[in-house]
Every structure is written in C-alpha cells, then in structure tokens.
C-alpha cells in the first residue's frame, strides 16, 4: 500500500476515493466502529474546490455520519478518529452537500472543458494544510483497472490517469435530482449554446429535459435552436408546457414557429394557452405558410412605422417597442395600409434631424420577395443584390416578415 502514496514537493497528500472506501474506521479507543461507506463534501459559493465535511460509516445495517473535525487520519490503511462516540445518526444532508460515492462515483458528469459527457471512474482528494479538498475526477481506464485491483500488471502500470479539474465539472444528476447546485449550473451556462446543445444530445431524454428546464429561459431558447432537429422533436415533447411557453417567448418568431411545428396537437394547444397573446397571434400567422417558402422561413421580428411621422416620433417608437424584438437594425416604412414603401437604418435615423419627416430620409426598397417564393429563389436574390435581409410581402405588397442572411445559411447548411 505504501507505494500508492503520492507526495508532491509541497507535501500535499493525495488519495483516491476508491482506495479508501470500505476501509475500517477506528475510534480513539482503537475500537472498529464500522467501514467507510461514503465521503461527504460541502460545496460553497466562491470556493473553487468542495471541502470534505464528513464521512459516512456503515456498521451492519446502521449508517451514521462523522463530522470532519473528529477525523484524525483519512488515508490508506485505516481511518482513525480523534474521539469516540462522535457518530451522528439520522443526519439530514443539506442541498450543498454531495456524497461522493452515492452522487458522483460511476455517475455521468459534464466535462465543461472538453465539452463532453463522461463517466466518473474515480475521485481525487487532496489534503492541503488541514483540509481535504475534492480536486479532480479521474475518467481514465487506468482508474477502472485500479478499482478492479489490476494496476500492478506491468503494461497497465504505464497507462496514464486522466484527471478533470473540479472547476470543469458540472453534475448531470445535480441538475436533475434534489441537489440543486448553483455552481454546477453556472459552469454550464458559461458554455456556448451550441456546445450545451451538443452535451444535451449525448444525454438520455430525461436528463436532457431536466437540463433544458433548469437553464434560464434565454439560454434555453438559444440552446434549443442548436439542437439537432431529430432529437429536438422528442425533447420538446417532454418539456413541460409552462416551461416551454417561457422558452418560446424568448425565441425569435421563426424559430418559435419551428418549435410549434414539431409539437403534437395536444402539446400545441397546451402551449398556446400559456403564451402571451402577441406571440400566439404572430406564431399562428406564421404557421399558415409552407415550410420551404419565404413565408415559412421569415421571422416576425421587424418593426414598421407609418410614413407620415417624424424622426423623433420614430425613435420614440423604437425605444418603447425594443423589448419585444430580439434585434432591430432597420425600420420599415409603410403607408397607412401597411404597403411597404421604404427602409431606414438605425444609423440613418440617429444621424437625421429630429423634426424631419421619416419619408424624406428613407431609401426605397427595390427588392422584396413574396410569401410563396421558394427559399432557393430568396437565396438567389439576396446573393445577387448583396442583401443582409429582405422583406417578405404578400400579393398586395403588405409587409409580412423579413428573412435575414442567417436564416438562409441555416437552410443551406442544416447540420452545422
């Protein structure tokens, strides 16, 4: 056993959880009170590594908890206590406590650094000064072999351990179960939505549903946009309607329309009941168009104003309405019957004189597409005239929506 101790220059003591589980626990009177069943760590806001706060000892069918302050030596061989009769029976674990063997060992975790889902093969505890900290998670095959007692076979001895620092670990189970660990979620939310989507695709539906529901609505909306269509369909079915409604409210209309398309009739009705009136109207309008046409692809995220107002009035309208739209780069100008007449960029609007009529600063719109236009044709027009966005109108030239260049890209390269 002595060979397993690893002492670094700073004389840090490092142990593997697998090597101390099941060791005898001996109290100050040298009486064996049971075997080590689990190690408890406490997750604290701001602390980089969780600290060992106690151990769970099993004797027969009885389990009790011993706080860390009563432990003299936690290491290989045996675990010794400073006192006797220091067991707490019927201890209730708090939400910030993790039981390493129960909650982490052999479970799946997110490796936020490598953006992947991995299974925990072992855990590394390091003693720094008087504290034991959970430093990292071993996901190597070497750890598996060590636990099967095969580590001393020559060719295996040469294999490397692969550690993931706790700073890069986010719990799968913590998000689902009763341990609502804030830190775990924060680590995850730092990732790009596309990366979170990748992680989600690698979980089973239960875990992925829990994960999406635990994210804040804005992140969840962005993540859902990135999830593969095949997977998304089943996922959406499982998210509960009120959560889904909150997420859909955060989505640009065209994405939201895609979501609606994927739902079963029953779920659709449930969702519509919970959506705000404005969003519901808009979605309903969009869902009338065929998927591969300009109408099916366009978004309702655009702003239009009447041609007879002043620059100042327009700016005021933008300020008031801006919350409803995910982005505004242009304002469309229409006549009183909503017929599209021109366009003004935010920049032009900023530079114009406040009193000026907006119709005098607008540029004419030369290229629009009809709602029934084929997506390929839309792409062709946008490419030919170098447009970043194009307005979609109906037969009577009434503006219905806009298509931006990223919508086209998404259509042309669906797998990205």
């Amino acid at each position: 056993m002595a060979g397993c101790w690893r002492l670094s220059p700073k004389s840090r003591l490092m142990i593997f959880l697998s090597q101390i589980l099941n060791l005898p626990v001996v109290d100050s009177r040298e009486a064996e009170i049971g075997r080590l069943k689990d190690v408890v760590v406490q997750v604290r806001d701001g602390a980089k590594y969780p600290e060992v706060s106690g151990i769970v000892v099993k004797s027969g069918r009885k389990e009790s908890v011993i706080p860390y302050r009563f432990i003299e030596n936690l290491g290989y061989g045996e675990i010794t206590l400073k006192k006797s009769d220091c067991c707490i029976e019927g201890y209730k674990f708090s939400n910030s406590e993790i039981l390493l063997a129960r909650d982490l060992m052999d479970q799946q975790i997110f490796d936020v650094g490598g953006i992947r889902v991995v299974r925990v093969n072992d855990l590394e505890l390091v003693k720094i000064e008087e504290k034991f900290l959970l430093m990292s998670i071993d996901v190597s095959n070497r750890a598996l072999l060590r636990r099967m007692g095969l580590v001393n076979i020559p060719f295996i001895r040469k294999t490397r351990s692969h550690f993931i620092d706790w700073g890069n670990v986010s719990l799968v189970k913590g998000l689902a179960g009763n341990l609502q660990l804030k830190t775990s979620k924060e680590k995850l939310e730092k990732l790009h939505p596309a990366d979170i989507a990748n992680l989600i695709e690698n979980l089973n539906f239960q875990e992925s549903t829990n994960l999406v529901q635990s994210l804040d609505e804005e992140t969840a909306a962005e993540v859902l946009e990135e999830v593969e269509p095949e997977y998304k369909e089943s996922l959406l079915q499982r998210i509960n309607p009120s959560n889904l409604a909150e997420i859909v409210e955060e989505m640009p209309t065209d994405e939201a329309a895609d979501v609606i398309q994927a739902l079963s009739e029953q779920k659709k009705i449930q969702l519509f009941k919970r959506l705000g009136v404005r969003k519901a109207r808009e979605l309903h309008r969009l869902s009338k168009y065929k998927e591969d046409t300009a109408g099916g692809m366009m978004s309702g995220d655009f702003m239009f104003v009447r041609n007879d107002i002043t620059v100042q009035q327009a700016a005021l309208r933008i300020r008031k309405a801006s919350e409803q739209y995910s982005s505004i780069y242009h304002v469309f100008i229409t006549d009183e019957d909503k017929h599209l007449e021109g366009i003004v960029s935010i920049r032009t609007l900023l530079l114009a004189k406040q009193r000026e009529k907006i119709s005098s600063i607008m540029s004419k719109v030369h290229h629009t597409v009809r709602t029934n236009a084929d997506v390929e044709d839309v792409a062709r027009i946008m490419t030919k005239y170098n447009l970043l966005s194009v307005a979609v109108t109906d037969r009577k030239k009434v503006i219905k929506g806009i298509i931006t260049v990223d919508d086209i890209l998404r259509y042309l390269i669906p797998d990205a």
């Binding site: 992947r116 996901v139 636990r147 089973n204 539906f205 079915q237 519509f272 869902s287």
Partner: protein, 423 residues
C-alpha cells in the same frame, strides 16, 4: 385566444385516434427484440422440435409467450422510468466488478450467438449452391455498412421490415398442410414424452427466448426511443404484440416441420436441413420460404446482437466518446466491426467445432442470467429509482417465480448437455 385554439385544433383528431397513434409510436423495441430471439438458433430449435415431436410441443409456446412478456416488461419499465441502459444502471447501483463480470460474459455469449447466425447464413448459401466464402463476407459487409452508414431511423426501419418478413414462416407453415385439429390440441393439452430428448428440446426452446442480450437490447431501445414513462401503458401493447408475434412465428415453424418431416419420419440437425427436407414434402416454394426466412432471421439476429455487444461495453465503461462526433464513438464502431468480422472469419474456418461453441455460449448465458435478473429485480424494487413504478407484491411474486423458472431451465440445459443421461 378562444378562436385561436379552435383554429389550431384539427377537428377530426379524436381521442381514440390519438391513442392508436401513441401505440404505433412506441411499437418497435419489444417486437424487434422478440423477433430477433427467433434467430438462426431459435429457428433451428423450433424446426427440430416439430420434426422430432410433431405437434406435441406446441403448448410450450404459451409458456414462452408468457415469460417473454414478463421479462420484456421489466426491461421496458426500467428503461422508460430511469432513461438509462441496463449496463449503466448496474454500474451506478452495484459495483464495478459485477458490471465487468456481466459485461464480459454477455459479450462472449453474444459473440457465439453472432457466430451461430453466420452459420445460418452459410447453410442458406449451401442450399443455393453459393460458396459460403462469398456469401458470408457479403452478409458481414452488408450489415456493417447499414449500421455504420445508416441513421437510427433507417436501421429501425430495416429491422421492422425484417420483422414483417418473418411472415414467410407463417406462409411456409400454412403450405405444409398441417393437421389443424392436432395443432390446436397440441396447444391446449400439455403432453410430455418421458425421455431426455423431449425435455432437452423443451428447455432449449425456452433458453433461446430469454437471453442476456435481449434484456440489454430491449431496455436500451426503449431508452433510445425517448418515450417517457407516461407512455408506459402503451409500451405494454408493444410487449404483448411481441410475445404474440414471436410465438406465432415459432408456432408456424413447428407445424411446418411437424406436418412434413415428422410425418415422414425425417430427422434434422439444423434449420438449413429443414429447408432442404421440406422440398419433396411441401414443394419447392415452401423450401424457398423457409430458406429465405432463415437468411432474414440470421441477418436480423446478427445485427441486433452485435450492436447490443457494442452498446453494452461502451455504456458500462463510459467509452461513449466525444459528443461532437454526432455518431456513436469510435470504440462503438470498433467493437461492432470486431463482432461482425471476427465471427464471419471464424465461421469460414474448416472443421470449426460449431456445436460446441454454441453450447458454450448457452452456458455463458446461463451463468449471467441469474446475476442479471437478480440485479433487475433489485433495481425494480428501489423506490428511489422507480418511484410509483416500483414492483408491488404481486409483481414481485410473478417476476421472482419467472426468474427462478428461467434460471432452473437454463441450468438444466447446461447439465443435460454436459452430462447426458444424468436427468
């Protein structure tokens, strides 16, 4: 809002229709597993049963249907409630050593199972005079390409189509002009011949139906389908349909050989011989149906079992790999490639002791079944894991008795194989 709701609710969509759609959407895992149980080894057993004992063994199919239903329901429930495969659950709830044992033994048993399926393909090749050195590699390559290149949806479609193709046995059975009253009699009136051969065949029929790989496969499949536990009651339809369809196919195989080979007094060793022997008795068409049925069954069996092996290992040891590859991990495909091509190569070795290898695989199956089913029942009794879907007292009695029955049957198969005459 009221009008909006009305507009989006299609009026023709009735509750009854909804229910049927739900049932259709969960159908698959049970049916495919049950049908794949009737692979080359299964068909051989049923064909031998009919040829040797006529209609007398048909009642055993009722037991098979029952047991298949019970064991599949356990797998489905575990998968639907936990959303996890059996290997992952064993690893998370028991020890790494038990996991390693179960995985390695199942993997080895599966290897021999795939080998038996290639033997089925080889015997079909023999019937049509195609050199097996051509047929076996082509079959291996075909299956490998489908799984490697195809999507989950495509693979599932192919599996379901293959399931329907088992109809060929139903037709072949019908064409053999069986004695229907004797067949009905054989089902409803249990009879036994008091000899070792009868007993051995009966046990083998049950032994080919309940397998370690089947438990892993059915559970993972339900997980992959992503149906939630709300759909539990609909999944039961899938399982009942599977038990019915699997036994129905078995029924027609038995009566096909019972009406012909048994009447004529022809004995056979494997399903390939059965197809050949059918020709003079039931016509060339019956032979073709039987042979193509065997080919279909072997292909489905080898794809399903080889895939299960690969899932099993990657899931148990956390080798699922990086997520951005979209497809399964390199380890998965490595294992799958190994399972398919090493068995294909092995079957081409002249003088391979095939029978011994298959018997060996059944033995491994026997070793792992008790461990597996005890683990499954312990898991099903965990309230924390299963919630309201945990086993109740009645479910426990039925499932423990079934498991005890399976384990005893499987053990007897091994004893009888190695010590003929001891029972």
């Amino acid at each position: 809002m009221q009008t909006l709701e009305k507009e989006i609710r299609p009026s023709r969509f009735t509750a009854a229709k909804m229910k049927w759609l739900l049932i259709l959407s969960v159908i698959g895992p049970g049916i495919i597993t049950g049908t794949a149980d009737n692979d080359a080894g299964g068909i051989t057993t049923y064909a031998v049963a009919g040829a040797s004992f006529g209609y007398k063994m048909l009642w055993i199919l009722l037991i098979i249907a029952f047991i298949l239903g019970i064991t599949q329901e356990m797998g489905a429930r575990l998968g639907l409630v936990t959303g996890k495969g059996l290997a992952a659950l064993i690893r998370e709830n028991f020890s790494i050593k038990i996991t390693t044992f179960v995985v390695l033994v199942t993997f080895s048993a599966n290897w021999a199972n795939v080998l038996a399926d290639f033997a089925g393909i080889a015997s079909v090749a023999d019937i049509y005079g195609v050199p097996r050195y051509v047929a076996v590699p082509i079959a291996a390559l075909l299956i490998w390409l489908i799984v490697y290149k195809g999507s989950f949806k495509l693979v599932q479609k192919i599996f379901l189509t293959s399931t329907v193709l088992f109809l060929s046995y139903v037709i072949a059975g019908y064409m053999a002009h069986p004695d229907w009253s004797a067949a009905v009699d054989g089902i409803i009136r249990p009879t036994m011949d008091m000899n070792t051969a009868f007993f051995y065949t009966a046990v083998a029929m049950i032994g080919t139906t309940v397998t370690a790989w089947g438990q892993f496969f059915v559970q993972s499949y339900y997980v992959d389908k992503g149906v939630s536990s709300e759909f539990m009651k609909y999944s039961r339809w899938d399982i009942i349909a599977a038990a019915f369809w699997t036994s129905l196919v078995a029924f027609f195989i038995v009566i096909a050989t019972a009406a012909t080979l048994n009447v004529a007094g022809v004995t056979i060793q494997d399903a390939g011989q059965a197809a050949m022997a059918l020709e003079p008795l039931a016509g060339a068409f019956a032979k073709h149906l039987f042979a193509w049925g065997l080919l279909n069954a072997s292909l489905l069996g080898l794809a399903v079992v080889a895939m299960t092996s690969s899932y099993l290992v990657t899931e148990a040891f956390g080798w699922e790999g990086r997520v951005d590859l979209k497809k399964e991990s390199p380890v998965f495909y490595g294992l799958f490639t190994f399972c398919v091509f090493s068995t294909a190569a092995a079957i081409l070795i002249p003088g391979l002791p095939l029978v011994q290898i298959i018997v060996g695989s059944q033995m491994l199956n026997t070793f792992v079944l008790p461990v597996l089913f005890i683990a499954i029942l312990v898991l099903l009794n965990k309230k924390k894991l299963m919630g309201k879907f945990a086993n109740g007292l009645f479910a426990n009695i039925v499932s423990w008795l079934s498991v005890a029955f399976i384990v005893i049957m499987a053990s007897m198969l091994v004893v009888m194989t190695f010590m003929p005459g001891s029972l």
